[in-house]
């Protein structure tokens, strides 16, 4: 029997080991799903159109003269295709997703409902401004709360994600330096930083140098001071840092950086630990991006869209990009764009995106902030930190916890695979967690801890969930220390076993080819 018209089948029965085979390759609720190109056809469609009017084309003689190769499905087939695919994904809606530095918290459904109100979802970015006052007010209200929560002076709302926000912050710094005729070429980045930090600094035209950490997992203040000089444009700090630790010397770091004529960029990915409790503006920060898709719960969506507004100090705010929303004395809102920037914002470094930023994320984030309020946001930070410390102290005797002796952690706890027997490592523990029904923690990051496991539970997990997770990690850690080689085979209960990433990179197959075309390419 054929599973689908192309004859594709998830596996040959001979490949299946240790389990009863099925002719379909399915296992009850675990349903295999072919590619749309294997089940659809160019003639099938799931959309009905009215009859086409006859007309002479005016396409400049460039009518398409060959098939594109787009497979179509009827609506029931399409809904089933994507529903079956969705069931092969882990998600916050299914369980704990403790990826360190990613803040995988619950995504409230009110936010989704609000973003879909036609007054937000069905509005064109180039509509005359008198017709979009509500949208502009959302941007302005969110900007106001972000400034209040961070104690900063200005905010650039248009960056599309965290790394884009980093770029925005560094370009503000570059513009401020150029305005005073100061050509500085180096950006200092701690070794523990997210990869986006050095990549962004390079993207903005800077040379990147590492600054070392001390034994307590913090920035080495003396080493940093020694390196500061007239060639350093900025220091990029993550606070709380990627080991889950607050930088207690942050104000001293900022003061030293400012005294050397440079600026402090803060990676705000970990803002969830301090939101409503600590204002970065009080720590001497000049620019910080805020991942609305982390701290303010807009959904990650399998890898975006994000949104990365950047809060700016008084020194940098004049250089922020266009466009932005301004509230007029008469209560109306307006966009400050290239044409009117000259009078109001003459030093803008330019424009980062077409249109005005991630409106759909702004409405969600504002909804989240208003739902929590000042008291709720403070509780968010406290519960996030409490949950992380609970994990730290509940696992510190089962797993190596390199900084546990230096005191409490913030919103995430770091461990390592030190003490595992033989060649069993962090990857094996992570894959075994999949079998236990959990998403693994962040693996092998930050780079400063060998075999790192970075666990960020977030505030939206119950104690019962944490207890079950702790029990699972303890059990796997014991097996790892005892040299249980079966961990190498994990996961065994997931939709797929370990995948061959080396093969994927050595012989990249990035688009579907018919079996005949694939064979011809061999």
């Amino acid at each position: 029997m054929t599973v689908n018209p192309s004859g594709w089948r998830p596996s040959a029965p001979a490949n299946e080991q240790g389990e009863a085979q099925t002719v379909t390759g399915n296992r009850a609720l675990m349903l295999e799903e072919p590619l749309i190109f294997e089940i659809g056809s160019t003639e099938q469609t799931g959309v009905d159109f009215a009859e086409l009017p006859q007309h002479a084309p005016r396409l400049g003689g460039l009518e398409r003269n060959r098939e594109i190769g787009l497979a179509g499905l009827s609506e029931p087939e399409a809904v089933r295709h994507y529903t079956r695919l969705s069931r092969q994904n882990y998600a916050i809606d299914l369980g704990l997703f403790p990826l360190g530095s990613c803040t995988m918290k619950h995504n409230p459904r009110l936010n989704e409902k609000v973003a879909r109100l036609p007054g937000f979802a069905d509005v064109h970015p180039l509509q005359p401004q008198e017709t979009v006052q509500g949208a502009l007010q959302v941007v302005n209200e969110l900007a106001f709360w972000l400034l209040d929560l961070t104690g900063m002076y200005g905010v650039a709302m248009s960056p599309k994600a965290g790394a884009h926000g980093e770029l925005c912050g560094l370009l503000c710094i570059r513009a401020a330096l150029e305005a005073r005729g100061d050509k500085r070429e180096v950006v200092l980045v701690p070794e523990s930083a997210h990869g986006t930090n050095p990549a962004t600094a390079a993207f903005a035209g800077y040379r990147v140098e590492n600054i070392p950490a001390n034994a307590a997992g913090r920035v080495d203040l003396e080493a940093l001071k020694a390196r500061l000089g007239p060639d350093v444009a900025a220091v990029m700090i993550t606070n709380p840092n990627t080991c889950g630790l607050f930088e207690p010397d942050m104000k001293a770091i900022s003061d030293a950086v400012h005294a050397a004529g440079a600026f402090v960029y803060c990676d705000g990915a970990n803002f969830n630990a301090i939101v409503g409790k600590v204002r970065p503006g009080d720590l001497g920060i000049d620019a910080m991006h805020i991942n609305l898709h982390k701290t303010f719960s807009t959904p990650h969506g399998g890898g975006g869209p994000g949104s990365g507004p950047v809060v700016l100090s008084e020194a940098l705010a004049p250089y922020g990009p266009l466009p932005f929303v301004a509230k007029m004395p008469d209560g109306e809102y307006k966009l400050v764009e290239e044409e009117n920037a000259g009078e109001e914002h003459p030093n803008a470094f330019g424009r980062m995106v077409a249109f005005h930023g991630q409106m759909g994320m702004f409405s969600r984030a504002l909804t989240y902030i208003l739902s929590h309020g000042a008291d709720g946001l403070k509780q968010v930070a406290e519960d996030a930190v409490l949950n992380a410390n609970y994990i730290l102290r509940s696992l510190q005797d089962a797993l190596d916890a390199p900084f546990a002796g230096s005191g409490p952690c913030m919103h995430e706890a770091i461990f390592s695979d030190k003490g595992f027997a033989g060649d069993i490592n962090t990857l094996d523990l992570a894959k075994a967690l999949i079998d236990e029904g959990f998403h693994p923690m962040t693996m092998y990051f930050p780079l400063v801890v060998h075999g790192a496991m970075l666990i960020e539970p977030t505030e939206t997990e119950s104690k019962a969930n944490l207890d079950q997770f702790i029990m699972a990690v303890r059990s796997i850690a014991e097996r790892a220390k005892a040299g249980d080689e079966s961990l190498k085979a994990a996961p065994v209960h997931a939709p797929r076993r370990r995948l061959d990433e080396t093969l994927a990179a050595r012989k990249p197959v990035l688009t579907y080819r018919t079996p005949q075309a694939a064979e011809a390419a061999e």
């Binding site: 529903t83 962004t200 035209g205």
Partner: protein, 452 residues
């Protein structure tokens, strides 16, 4: 607080396990002077779902909703009908609330969807490979310019006057910081784009030529001679597509020789959303894939030999290569890519062709009716679903006058090119399948009044 599961009893129990007397002890690394004493000043306290919804709904009602009025705006964002099942699919919690698929064994849904998306984008653009999305069209275009720079090791880029001015503005901003030289100019209000200018400027220092297709005024130009001229001197052709529905009817840029094709995917599946989030499309030749930015899903097998998908060629990316990465991009726009791919799967080739034909037929009809108004001229010889009119009056006030008559009638070139006098009578009108006969009557009637 409805989003926080811990009870006070839980909190006490947990503090006991931790060995801390209070929550404040956990924040002891934060210097006293940096800690706020109470809840942050200036924010209201938490609010019920009903109260928040009421506030947000009131804000949403202050906007003129595109679907409520005759609507003819385009210029990089297009209003198409999105099947109800698309929004249902992207609201599946397993897609909506998952992360970047770093653990492929439990992320095959996202990875297979990315692989299908990449295949659709590559085929639509006439290219060999595509990535799993960028932020939007404007940032994708700048990344393409940088990619060409890496491939050709040259830094001079010639940008057609027909490229969306916001895209050009983004590229100009970034070029200031990357030592790239951009040749740009604003368009002329005529039927021909600036092919002659581009051909005259291409030389052996040129890294890339960037052309939008169809362009900002809606004109459709054969890219073949530009590709040939660029290739003759070792330069690349970058094509920018802001309305991918057009490719259901017109030849793809890849077929005409474009080396990198980027675009805005908003018009398929995503919706207007006041400008974002949208989804950047990025495709190129296979031989250049290692210079490509962004995430890529690739096919492989698992330990049992079953087909599966993983993120691949990650050595281009920031989390591996840090300052040597091809781009700093991390989070992209995968959920919007899902909306795009689901809508395109529902359409299929047949549906896309029908959708494109309907758009073009509608646009032809509206172009004829509006250009029959005395004093109003059609600028374009060629167009897909968007064309430019030259009004006998300045277009920018005319757009506001149309709003007073309850019509969102188009985008004035005065808004896009402030200060450019030669363009100030230009009005760009987009016509999609969502426009009804009554909408056309309303626009025609209102425009007649406004241009008198």
């Amino acid at each position: 607080m409805r989003y926080l599961p811990l009870s006070d009893a839980d909190r006490s129990d947990m503090l006991r396990v931790i060995g801390a007397g209070s929550i404040d002890e956990l924040f002891r690394d934060v210097p006293q002077e940096a800690r706020l004493k109470g809840p942050i000043h200036g924010l209201p306290m938490h609010a019920s779902e009903m109260a928040v919804e009421r506030h947000m709904a009131a804000l949403s009602r202050k906007n003129m909703i595109a679907g409520d009025v005759p609507f003819f705006l385009g210029c990089g964002a297009y209003r198409h009908h999105v099947p109800a099942s698309v929004d249902h699919i992207i609201q599946r919690g397993e897609f909506l609330t998952s992360y970047t698929p770093y653990q492929p064994e439990i992320a095959q849904g996202t990875l297979q969807m990315m692989f299908e998306f990449q295949t659709q984008v590559a085929r639509l653009f006439g290219c060999e490979v595509a990535n799993a999305s960028m932020y939007d069209g404007s940032t994708a275009m700048w990344e393409a310019i940088l990619m060409a720079h890496r491939i050709t090791r040259r830094n001079r880029t010639i940008v057609s006057s027909g490229v969306h001015p916001h895209y050009v503005s983004v590229a100009k901003t970034m070029a200031k910081f990357s030592a790239d030289a951009l040749e740009t100019t604003i368009p002329e209000l005529g039927p021909q784009s600036d092919v002659e200018r581009l051909l005259a400027k291409i030389d052996d220092q040129t890294s890339a030529v960037v052309v939008q297709y169809p362009d900002i005024l809606g004109r459709i130009t054969d890219l073949t001679p530009i590709a040939e001229a660029a290739h003759a001197v070792g330069a690349l052709l970058i094509a920018v597509v802001t309305e991918p529905v057009a490719l259901g009817l017109v030849r793809s840029p890849g077929e005409m020789g474009a080396d990198i094709v980027v675009g805005e995917g908003q018009s398929i599946g995503v919706g207007l959303q006041f400008g974002g989030p949208y989804v950047g499309l990025f495709a190129c030749r296979e031989k250049h894939v290692r210079q490509m930015p962004g995430r890529l899903a690739g096919e492989t097998v698992d330990a049992e030999g079953k087909r599966g998908f993983v993120l691949t060629l990650s050595t281009r990316e920031q989390h591996i290569r840090r300052e040597k990465a091809t781009s700093n991009i991390c989070t992209s726009s995968v959920l919007c890519a899902l909306a795009f791919t689901a809508h395109l799967t529902l359409l299929g080739e047949r549906g896309l062709r029908q959708l494109a034909s309907l758009n073009h037929a509608r646009a032809c009809e509206v172009a004829d009716r509006l250009s029959a108004i005395p004093g109003v001229d059609l600028v374009n010889d060629s167009f897909f679903n968007e064309f430019t009119l030259k009004l006998p009056v300045e277009a920018r006030p005319a757009v506001h006058a149309l709003v007073e008559r309850g019509v969102l009638g188009g985008v004035s070139l005065g808004r896009l090119y402030p200060g450019a006098e030669a363009l100030q009578n230009g009005l760009v009108v987009a016509v999609t399948e969502t426009v009804s006969d009554e909408d056309i009557d309303s626009l025609e009637g209102a425009l007649k009044e406004v241009v008198q």
